[in-house]
Structures are given as structure tokens and as C-alpha cells.
């Protein structure tokens, strides 16, 4: 391959004036890349340039990655010969309408440090492959940011999708604004605005988004606080949550909060969040149980290890104790705060009426779980009876929680909270929790990190019905390796690896592969 970066001089006699400017747009189908390309072509022509744009339309546009390409040169009275697609190392301006598309542009060689101005929206649109992992399959934005910085001559990145949404328009408008603000083309801001105006549809919103993005790219407007988008929210301690309620309960809460305050500093934040979660889930007494359990881990822990065991316990005990049963779902769906959140998310304006439909599909398992433990297990131990009942229960139910009857039904189920401790599901969950927690703590003295990893395996348990059953099975399969790993120094590492494998696919095929590897390790 010829060196991409060689200057490849223009033929003798060529003026700087006659230089061809090359601009590529990488977008996801449906983002309005075609509109952007039309605007840019129009701006160029308004400024006495000859411009040519091309694209590959068609099926590729259906939500896939697409490229639009524009070349332009000052009109000297002669027609330039333009290329129809971008070449590696030969692009002056690259606009990416999504962060990973910027990454793709770099991989494809369209971004070079000597010459390319890279303008990208920093927001993410997750690809299907990122979404379907049972764990967190999302690509690392940091890596793209870092490479983009080094790979480009100028790098302009901010959330242009947000600016578009705030102004009620498509990202094409804010991308054009960023291009204008970057001053990468020899055209005035006014000529861009004229091009938008000539488009004729949604001009006001487009101009607003264009202006905001243009100012932002020029640095006239600083990034709004908290937009350092890429980084996940850190666990910096928050001010203690505001709590309200009846006197007696508040007193109970104060007592529990006092116990949390007495904990070592490292696990304190997690413990407070956990405590809040379990009290909100059940009651003050449940919070006490939580702290009692947590104290056992803290007692085994020490500062030299950073309290990793206690932090893991604080987190996963809370999640385990707040198992997802029908009562919890019904309770959450009937709260006034939930109603407010839905109205906000959907954007219900004053004067409009909101109707909310919930999708439930209870099975005999959920039904029995919500019965007193004795009755529930009586039914479960009689397959014929269970099947008979299941035929009556097991079907989809669409419940309107804005109606009297629908709301009342869920409100009633949510009210079963009081009796939760006596129900079958609770008994099953407590047994499971105790077994897991004892197992972890039993390892704490001779293999601290292994104990922590066993606690972390709780992450695997999630989902409802079949998904939940599969998750349980993955959890069991991961912990089944403990016997094979007995006495190994690197047991904790292996458990972590197994857990990560379990989060990669639905059925746990990766996990089974990893388990086979563990089996070959030998004792």
C-alpha cells in the first residue's frame, strides 16, 4: 500500500483555490444523513462552489451504518473531476452522527492526524450485538474518544442528539451547526442558515438546534455541567436521602441510619443505599435483618483489604432480599411517584389524558409464591392440581392501571406486603440467600477474594419466570465449580471468569465451555 500520508502534490500549476475539499458523513440509517448532505451541498453552491454529493441509499439505510460523501471546489468556470466515494487518508472533514460511527471512520482510514477535522456526536446508539447480551455488552466509548483525539487533526465531540431533541428536531440540524461552528469550511454562518431556511420544513426548530450546536462547537457556550457523558456515574457519597413518614417509623429509621453511620467508611455508602432499598421494599424490621447480616461480613473484614467483602455484601444482600415478586411489581406500579415518572417520560401535556396498560403473565409458580407457604407448597407438590390451576391462571393479562378496577387489583396485591414473610416465595428466597451467604462467608478466612467473588455471583440472578430460572441455573453452574477449584490459589479468578462468561449469552453456552476448561485444570 502506498503511504497514506504522503502529500501527493497537486499537478504543477494548480492553485490553492482549485483545491478539492472532501467531506464524509457516517450515520446510522434513519438519522437524516441525506438531509445533512443536501444542506452542505446547498451551502457550498451558495458560496460559489461546485459541489457533488453521493450516497448508497436503499436497503443499507434501514437502521444500518451508511455513508454520504461530498466533494466541493471553488467554481473557476471549469468542471472538476470529483470522486464518488471517500478514500483512505484523503478526507478533510469527517462528520459522524454517532460515536461508534466515528470509530468506524477511524478504522476505515478516513481520519488522519495531518488533515482531518473529526466532528462527532458523542451519544451512543447501541447496536443489536450490544443489546442482546444478558450482561453489559456495550462498547467502550472511552476507547473511541481516546483514539479519535490522537487520530484526527481537530476533534470536536459533544452530544448533538441531545441538542436536537431539546429543540424538537433531528440530529442533522445540530451536526450542521457543529460543522459551521468548527469553521472547517470557508463559509459564513449566515449561508448555512439560508440553506436551512430554503429547505422549508421545520425551519424554526432546525435553526434553533443549528445555532445551539454552532455556539457549542465555537466554544461560545461551555458544556453544561454533568455532561461528561462517557463516564458512568461514580459512587461519590450523596447527601443522605430525605425521608418522610409517620413518627414511629422515622424513629426506627433513625436507629438503623445510626448503625450505618457506625460502619467503616468504605462500605457505608453502599450500605445506606442497600438499607434504603430493603426498607422501601418491606419495612424497618427487614432493614434490621439486612444490617444484622451485613455486620457478619464487616466483622470478618478489615481496612487493609479495602472492605471489598463488605461492599459486595452490602450490595448483593440488598438485591437478594429485594427479590422480584408480584407484590413488589404491584407496589411499584401503584405508587404516586411512578405515575409522575410515566407522565414525564411520555411527555403528557396539560389537558391530555394518560391511559396506562400493564402487561402481566402470571403462572402457577407466581400464584403459589404469593400464597402462604404451607398452601403454596401443598399445591406445588400436586402436579395435577397445579396443572389444573395453571390452565386457569397462565395467560396474558393486560391491566389498565389508570382504571379503578385495574388499579385496585394491583393496589391490593401490593398490600400483601404485610404478609410477605409468611409466603412461599419468601421461604424459598430466604433459604437460597442463606445458603449462598453462608457459603461465601465460610470462605472468607482462608480465601478472602474467593468469598467476595461468590458474593458477586448474585449478579447472575435476574429476570422473571423462565429467564429467572435460567439465571438460577447459571448461578448454580458457576458455583458448582467451587468443588473443582478447591484449594486453588486462583479460585477467585476462575469464579470471576465463569461469571463473566455466564453474562455473555442467553443459554450459558460460553459458561459451559468455561466450565469444561475448569474441569481440565485437575485437582
Amino acid at each position: 500500500m502506498l503511504d497514506q500520508t504522503s502529500p501527493l502534490r497537486p499537478k504543477s500549476g494548480a492553485h490553492d483555490d482549485e483545491r478539492v475539499i472532501k467531506l464524509a458523513v457516517l450515520a446510522v440509517g434513519g438519522q437524516g444523513g441525506g438531509v445533512l448532505a443536501d444542506w452542505i451541498t446547498d451551502v457550498a453552491e451558495r458560496n460559489g462552489y461546485i459541489a457533488q454529493s453521493t450516497s448508497v441509499a436503499g436497503v443499507a439505510q434501514r437502521t444500518g451504518a451508511t455513508i454520504y460523501y461530498i466533494e466541493m471546489a471553488r467554481d473557476t468556470g471549469r468542471l472538476p473531476v470529483f470522486a464518488l466515494s471517500p478514500s483512505q487518508g484523503d478526507v478533510d472533514i469527517l462528520i459522524a452522527a454517532e460515536l461508534m460511527e466515528a470509530g468506524r471512520a477511524i478504522i476505515r482510514g478516513f481520519v488522519t492526524p495531518e488533515r482531518t477535522t473529526l466532528i462527532t456526536s458523542s451519544h451512543r446508539i447501541a447496536a443489536v450485538s450490544e443489546k442482546i447480551e444478558p450482561g453489559d455488552g456495550r462498547a467502550s466509548s472511552e476507547k473511541v474518544h481516546a483514539t479519535a483525539q490522537a487520530a484526527s487533526k481537530r476533534f470536536i465531540a459533544f452530544d448533538m442528539e441531545k441538542i436536537a431533541a431539546e429543540n424538537g428536531t433531528m440530529i442533522s440540524a445540530s451536526l450542521l451547526g457543529a460543522l459551521a461552528g468548527a469553521d472547517a469550511l470557508p463559509f459564513t454562518r449566515e449561508s448555512y442558515e439560508q440553506a436551512i431556511g430554503a429547505g422549508g420544513r421545520g425551519v424554526k426548530a432546525s435553526l434553533a438546534a443549528f445555532g445551539a450546536a454552532c455556539d457549542r462547537a465555537r466554544g461560545v457556550v461551555a458544556a453544561p455541567a454533568g455532561e461528561k457523558a462517557a463516564e458512568p456515574a461514580d459512587a461519590s457519597p450523596k447527601p443522605t436521602a430525605k425521608v418522610s413518614g409517620p413518627e414511629t417509623l422515622l424513629k426506627g429509621w433513625q436507629e438503623l441510619a445510626g448503625r450505618v453511620a457506625a460502619l467503616p467508611e468504605s462500605p457505608r455508602d453502599m450500605a445506606e443505599r442497600g438499607l434504603k432499598k430493603v426498607v422501601d421494599y418491606q419495612d424497618i424490621a427487614y432493614g434490621r435483618e439486612y444490617l444484622d447480616r451485613l455486620d457478619r461480613a464487616v466483622a470478618l473484614d478489615d481496612a487493609a483489604r479495602g472492605y471489598a467483602l463488605s461492599i459486595a455484601a452490602a450490595k448483593h444482600l440488598a438485591n437478594a432480599m429485594c427479590y422480584d415478586d408480584m407484590i413488589r411489581v404491584a407496589d411499584l406500579k401503584t405508587r404516586s411517584t411512578r405515575n409522575k415518572r410515566v407522565r414525564k417520560e411520555v411527555g403528557v401535556k396539560d389537558g391530555s389524558v394518560l391511559q396506562v396498560t400493564e402487561y402481566f403473565h402470571p403462572r402457577i409458580e407466581e400464584f403459589c409464591g404469593t400464597l402462604p407457604a404451607g398452601l403454596g407448597s401443598y399445591i406445588e407438590s400436586r402436579p395435577k392440581l397445579a396443572a389444573f390451576l395453571d390452565r386457569r391462571i397462565n395467560r396474558g393479562r393486560h391491566i389498565r392501571t389508570d382504571s379503578f378496577s385495574g388499579f385496585a387489583m394491583l393496589w391490593f396485591i401490593g398490600g400483601l406486603r404485610r404478609w410477605r414473610r409468611r409466603l412461599l416465595r419468601h421461604r424459598i428466597e430466604v433459604e437460597h440467600l442463606e445458603r449462598w451467604y453462608e457459603l461465601a462467608l465460610a470462605h472468607a478466612r482462608d480465601n478472602y477474594t474467593l468469598a467476595t467473588e461468590i458474593l458477586n455471583c448474585r449478579r447472575l440472578i435476574k429476570g422473571y419466570s423462565d429467564t429467572h430460572a435460567r439465571a438460577q441455573s447459571k448461578f448454580d453452574r458457576v458455583l458448582s465449580a467451587l468443588a473443582m477449584l478447591k484449594g486453588r490459589e486462583d479460585a477467585a479468578d476462575w469464579i470471576r471468569r465463569l461469571r463473566e462468561a455466564a453474562l455473555k449469552d442467553e443459554k450459558g453456552d460460553m459458561l459451559d465451555g468455561a466450565l469444561k476448561t475448569v474441569a481440565t485444570l485437575g485437582g
Binding site: D3, T5, S6, P10, G29, V56, V59, Q61, R62, I67, L79, V81, F82, A83, S85, S87, M100, E101, G103, T112, P113, I125, A126, A127, K131, P134, G135, R138, K143, A150, P232, A241, K242, S244, G245, L249, R273, D280, V329, T334, R335, S336, V348, S352, L354, V356, T357, Y359, F360, H361, G396, H398, D402, F404, F407, G415, K462, G463, Y464, T467
Partner: protein, 717 residues
């Protein structure tokens, strides 16, 4: 109605002599047809020529004024057969389709048309879908031109050149009595440019004139003995006439100096990329003035022997730039040089790759390598021995980070629930052999569905499962065909074949009311009224007419439970013969385009409108993403929660959700989780709505306050 309205573009078709046309390449071709006095046009939609069809469909008035007949053909074979109107009558006709998929379908008609030859100019505009972004198999149209002996034009990719090629094409066809193919590549079709228009011309003879004065000539009909004479005529008369025309009219172009030790020959469509490589090598300026002699083949078949040989005169080496394989042109030139006893070295695929698209980098490398080897003195010093300017950035890491992003189902697509149901039925009954077809529904082969083993051609899904019909089989095959493919030829090749051969498989006809993948054109079963076409012919009736006994109709594909039940029945019923399920729901892209402006207007106008949208309760979602493994909807994605207690991102639905219902139905049918809710916003509610709402809110508020006053409330919970 197509997914785009071309009302604005249609006006460009009215431009008169001297006015400047600005727009897409494919529209320039459309305008050129009218300038050439075309009498009739037909075609089958598909990228990149869909816009030609769509614009003409929207331009009925202009066509009417000019007396031009336009037809949206049933298939490419139909479109090509339509050119039979130019066999006996001096009427110019044009057909257009996507190549090589369409050319394959058209081959039967093309061979017959080419044998008898034509009197009026017959132009076949093939939209070449080759290279990056292509959705079809990678083959060459060139082979079709060679086997049927029709001429192939491949003009330089700019508007004036392709407009001229249309004009030349008709003339060439008439002087040589041979149909002419005009090949335009996908980026050329979508290139934005300008040309100076001419007046539109009424066809000197219209199809109406022809009908009132019918003609026939047995000598033009493909039946012995005439057909034997046709073959001789092709080589003795038509070929020399074509070569003469190409030569005398200077269809092929020469650029650069008259003499030089090396030269480059290329297909016209490659011209811009070759010049760009020469520009980057310092051997051409912005306007294409080059230091290397180049010979541009705007006509790639037939080739003109003496023109080529005279280009080679005095040259030590000539490079042939020919995209695709086999390298027919290079082979033909090599034979010419050999037979003429010339010493010029001919190279091509030694420097350029045998297969694949000739991108900018490929061209720069190939031409650079050719010049290094054969004319290093031409190259500037910095190209011959470049100073390495840094290593560039290492992207190896990034390759593992950036996810692939293949095309997939749109937001709210009605085909998504069909495949969700298929995946669910396979969870019950096990894996099945699944045959796919051409169309949007082929996205089923990608994650998250990963359903479908083969695709054998348009309308051939069920045909491609026809071997899987055995009395010993424990499972049935499932095959898919879209409504587009069904009417294209699926009705006979797939359904008729299955009935006749007593195939026991399951056939799902995906009916989304349009030929959706090609841009939403109307077809026989479209539900819309169409001024110039006859629509609303139910697929069910056609299937029954073919003799299918087991037929189910799903009129709302979003009902995943019902869809799954129909599939389960079809796979398990005792009944023999094909089991056909017609799954109907309107393409969401087209539906939104149609309904959204109406809904917005109604809301503004104060009418009562209910607008649905889906949402996820993030505290109920556990982040297992099971819903996404049954969806892949762009609107349903993952988001991080600002909560250290939660490790995995939860599901979230963005503002683009159209409320199709798939999320809720899948959660129900697959028994996933209760996190989804549907929020229906009633805009401009009536008095009854408002009364009910306030009454409900009063009672619900009471219950909520009662419970919430007795528990601890956390401000951010």
C-alpha cells in the same frame, strides 16, 4: 404510493432547452428519456433505480401530455418483454431494473428480444448494485451483454455523460437493430449534479398509433428458420453497424497526451476514480488534465479493435482498469494484441484485485504499482520514495471495540413480531429448516433472530424448500416469502409448485401492503387506492385460487401469541399439503409517513387523538435483556442507572417509539417480565374522558395517599 413523494422532482422533468437541471443522476436519466422521444417505459423497482420508477409514477400528467405510456411492471422479465413493442414499430422504449438480480430474471425475454432484434430504439437501464452497501450477489451485467449480444454502455459518472449515453443508446440501438443496455452504478445514480436540458419530445409514433396500424414480420420471430438467421445477422450485420457507430460518433473518449510509453484503459464508470488516483499521484489536475494517456470505454461491449490498437501504438505497457470478474475486457484486449502481433504489454488484474470493488485506495495502490513498474520516471520524487510521515494511529484495538451495524428491521416493523413468534415456536418444537426470500424480512437471518438458512431469489423462498418434502420427515420446513416476491413470481414458482407437488411444508407470506424494501411501491395487494393502478387484490384469494386448502390469515402481526399459535398449528396439523399463513400488517415506515402528518394536524385542529408509546419501569426491569433478544428494535435499547446497587444496564425505550405493541406482546407471549407498559395519551380529550380521568384520579389518589402516609417515603425512591 412510494415512500417518498417526488412532486418537486417531477417539475424538473418539464425543463426546456437551455435550462439547467440540478438533481440526482437517476432523475437526469429520466429527463433524458423524455428528451429522446421515448414512447413507453417500464421497469421493476429496486435500488438504485427505484427513483426512476417513482418519479415517473408521480409524473402521470406530463407523460399523458407527451403520449408516453408508463408501466410498473410485474417483474424484470415483464419489463424486458414489454420492449417487444419496438420489434416491429419504430417506437423508442426503455426498461429499467436492478442488476444483476433483475437481469437474471429478465434473461429469457432479453435473449428473445436480442435474437429477433429491434426497429425502434430499445434501451435497458440497469442499476448496477455492486460493492459497498450492496444487498445482492456480486456478479457482472457484462456477461449478459456478451451472451445475448446486446450492447453495453458504461458512461463516465457525471450527469452530462449519462444523459448523452441515453441519447447515444437509442441511436445505437436503431442503427444496429439491437437492444442496448445502459449500466449505471449505484453512486452514479445517487450523485447530485447538473446538466443543460433540452425540450421534451413527443414520440413520433405512439403506442396508440401502433395499435391502430398493426405490423408483423415473420423474419423477426424467434422460431426456425428465422432464429438461425438471427444469429448470423448478429455477427454479419448488427455487430459491424454497432462498431461503426461507436467509432464514428466517438463514444469512447481519449484524454491526456497523444503519446506516452504507458496508458490506461478503463470502463467509463471507473473514470473518476482513476483520475482521483492520478490526482493523488501528482499526474492530473483538479479538472482531469492528465500526464498519462487514458482511453475511456463508454461502450464496453462491443469493443472496437482498431481504436484500441491505435491507442496502444508506441506504448510499452497498458493497464486495463476493469471492476469485477471474470476480466472479460482484459481478455478481449489481450487477444487483440496477440492476433495483431503487437509487443505492448497488457496488464490489469496483476496490479488490481481480481474481485471486489475498486475503491479509492485500491485504485491508488493499483495505478501506483503499475506506474512504479512501468513508468517510474513519470512519478514525482515524493511518491517514488515517500518520506514516512509518522506511523498513523494504531486502530487494531478499535476494531475489537466498534460493533458491526448491519441493516435491520425499522422501528415498529410489523415483521419483527412474526420472527419473534417463529423463535418462540422453535423453543417449543425445536429447530426447523427455514428458507428465506428477498425483501426486508431477510433481516431475520441477523441477530437477534438468526432465522433462515438460504435465500435463492425473489419469490423463491418456498420453492427453495421444495426438496424438503419427505414422508419420513418428523419436522416440516418453514419458508418465507414477502408480498413483493409473492406477486413477482412466488404465486406460481412457489405456491403453485407446492400445491402441485403436494409439499407438506409451512409457507409464511409476509404481507406489509407494499414492495417495502425497494421504497414502498404499490403492488396488487396494496390497500391504498391508486389513481393509475388496480390494487386491493387479496393474497388470500390468489392462494386459494392456486388450490391451497390449509390457509390462515393473521391480520395483525403484532399479536405474537396468535402468530405463534398459527405457526404451531401449521407445523403440527395432520393435514397434508402446503400450510399457508398470510401475515398482514402495514409497513411501519410507510404507515408513519402517511399517518404522522394527519395525526399532527388532527391534534392541532383540536380533534380527539390517542397516541400510543411504550415504556419500561426501570425499577422492575432486572437488566437481563431477554426482551431485546426477541426484538432488536432500534427504539428499545439499554441505559445505565445512576445506582451502584445495579450492575447491568436496564431496558429503555426512546422517543422514537411508535407504540407498535411488539414489546408488550412479546413480554406476554414469552412470559418475560412485567416491566413494559403502554402509555396512551389522549390528546384533546372529550368531556367524558376528562370526567372519567378526574374521577379515577380522585379515587386512585386517595388510595395512594392512604398507603403512602403509612410508610417511609424516600425522596429519590
Amino acid at each position: 404510493m412510494a415512500e417518498r413523494s417526488f412532486a418537486k422532482e417531477v417539475e424538473k422533468l418539464r425543463l426546456g432547452a437551455g435550462e439547467e437541471f440540478a438533481g440526482e443522476g437517476i432523475l437526469a436519466i429520466t429527463k433524458a428519456l423524455l428528451q429522446c422521444g421515448v414512447g413507453y417505459v417500464g421497469g421493476y423497482q429496486g435500488a438504485p433505480i427505484s427513483h426512476l420508477m417513482d418519479v415517473l409514477a408521480d409524473a402521470q400528467d406530463i407523460l399523458g401530455e407527451l403520449g408516453v405510456h408508463f408501466e410498473a411492471s410485474a417483474s424484470e422479465a415483464t419489463a424486458t418483454a414489454m420492449l417487444a413493442a419496438s420489434v416491429h414499430y419504430p417506437i423508442r422504449g426503455a426498461a429499467t431494473f436492478k442488476s444483476t438480480v433483475g437481469t437474471n430474471v429478465a434473461s429469457d425475454a432479453l435473449a428473445n428480444l436480442a435474437s429477433g432484434g429491434v426497429t425502434g430504439g430499445a434501451l435497458i437501464i440497469v442499476g448496477e448494485d455492486y460493492g459497498e452497501g450492496s444487498s445482492i450477489m456480486q456478479e457482472r451485467s457484462h456477461a449478459f451483454a456478451m451472451k445475448s449480444q446486446v450492447w453495453l454502455l458504461d458512461p463516465r459518472p457525471n450527469l452530462p455523460s449519462i444523459v448523452k449515453a441515453v441519447e447515444d443508446g437509442f441511436e445505437l440501438s436503431e442503427v444496429s437493430n439491437t437492444p442496448v443496455m445502459l449500466q449505471v452504478r449505484i453512486r452514479c445514480c445517487h450523485v447530485h449534479g447538473h446538466f443543460i436540458a433540452k425540450d421534451n419530445k413527443r414520440p413520433p409514433m405512439s403506442v396508440a398509433d401502433a395499435l391502430s396500424a398493426p405490423r408483423r414480420d415473420t423474419g423477426r420471430i424467434v422460431l426456425p428458420p428465422a432464429s438461425f438467421l438471427h444469429e448470423k445477422e448478429k455477427v454479419a450485420k448488427r455487430w459491424p453497424a454497432a462498431v461503426d457507430f461507436i467509432k464514428s460518433r466517438k463514444i469512447n473518449e481519449l484524454f491526456g497526451p497523444d503519446h506516452g510509453s504507458v496508458g490506461i484503459v478503463m470502463q467509463g464508470g471507473m473514470y473518476n476514480s482513476v483520475i482521483r488516483a492520478l490526482q493523488r499521484l501528482g499526474l492530473a489536475d483538479t479538472y482531469g488534465d492528465t500526464d498519462v494517456p487514458v482511453y475511456v470505454l463508454n461502450a464496453v461491449y462491443p469493443l472496437v479493435d482498431d481504436e484500441f490498437l491505435s491507442f496502444c501504438e508506441g506504448k510499452q505497457a497498458v493497464l486495463v482498469v476493469e471492476e469485477g470478474q471474470p476480466n472479460y475486457i482484459e481478455q478481449a484486449f489481450a487477444a487483440m494484441l496477440h492476433k495483431a502481433g503487437r509487443g505492448t504489454k497488457l496488464v490489469g488484474k496483476e496490479h488490481l484485485p481480481m474481485a471486489g470493488e475498486y475503491t479509492g485506495q485500491v485504485m491508488l495502490d493499483g495505478i501506483g504499482s503499475f506506474l512504479h513498474a512501468n513508468a517510474p520516471h513519470l512519478l514525482p520524487g515524493e511518491v517514488r520514495a515517500p518520506n514516512k510521515l509518522g506511523e498513523g494511529v494504531d486502530t487494531a484495538d478499535l476494531i475489537n471495540v466498534v460493533p458491526g451495524r448491519p441493516p435491520g428491521f425499522c422501528i415498529g416493523c410489523p415483521e419483527r413480531p412474526i420472527f419473534a413468534a417463529t423463535k418462540l415456536v422453535e423453543q417449543e418444537l425445536g429447530k426447523h429448516h427455514i428458507a428465506s426470500d428477498i425483501g426486508c424480512h431477510l433481516f431475520s437471518i441477523m441477530p437477534p433472530f438468526e432465522l433462515g438458512a438460504t435465500t435463492m431469489g425473489y419469490g423463491l423462498g418456498p420453492a427453495s424448500a421444495s426438496a424438503f418434502n419427505s414422508p419420513d420427515a418428523k419436522r416440516r420446513s418453514i419458508s418465507f416469502v414477502g408480498d413483493g416476491g409473492f406477486w413477482h413470481n412466488g404465486l406460481t414458482s412457489s405456491i403453485g409448485n407446492a400445491v402441485f407437488n403436494k409439499n407438506d411444508g409451512v409457507i409464511v407470506i409476509v404481507d406489509n401492503f407494499y414492495s417495502a424494501a425497494t421504497g414502498g411501491q404499490d403492488i396488487l395487494s396494496s390497500r391504498a387506492s391508486n389513481r393509475t393502478k388496480s390494487t386491493k387484490h387479496p393474497i388470500d384469494e390468489a392462494v386459494k385460487g392456486m388450490g391451497v386448502k390449509w390457509l390462515r390469515h393473521i391480520d395483525r402481526t403484532y399479536d405474537v401469541g396468535k402468530m405463534r399459535a398459527a405457526l404451531r398449528d401449521a407445523l403440527t396439523t395432520e393435514e397434508k399439503g402446503p400450510k399457508v399463513i398470510v401475515a398482514s400488517s402495514e409497513c411501519m415506515l410507510n404507515r408513519q409517513r402517511r399517518e404522522k402528518p394527519l395525526v399532527d394536524k388532527a391534534i392541532k385542529g383540536g380533534e380527539r387523538v390517542v397516541k400510543p408509546k411504550f415504556g419500561v419501569d426501570e425499577d422492575i426491569c432486572t437488566g437481563d435483556h431477554a426482551c431485546m433478544r426477541l426484538s432488536g428494535c432500534p427504539s428499545l435499547s439499554v441505559k445505565s442507572l445512576d445506582d451502584p446497587l445495579r450492575d447491568d444496564p436496564v431496558a429503555a425505550i426512546d422517543q422514537n417509539c411508535v407504540g407498535c405493541g411488539n414489546c408488550g406482546e412479546v413480554a406476554d407471549a414469552a412470559v418475560l417480565c412485567p416491566s413494559f407498559y403502554r402509555a396512551d395519551v389522549v390528546h384533546n380529550p372529550g368531556r367524558w374522558d376528562r370526567f372519567l380521568e378526574s374521577a379515577r384520579r380522585a379515587v386512585i389518589g386517595l388510595l395512594q395517599r392512604r398507603r403512602e402516609s403509612r410508610r417511609l417515603m424516600f425522596a429519590d425512591a
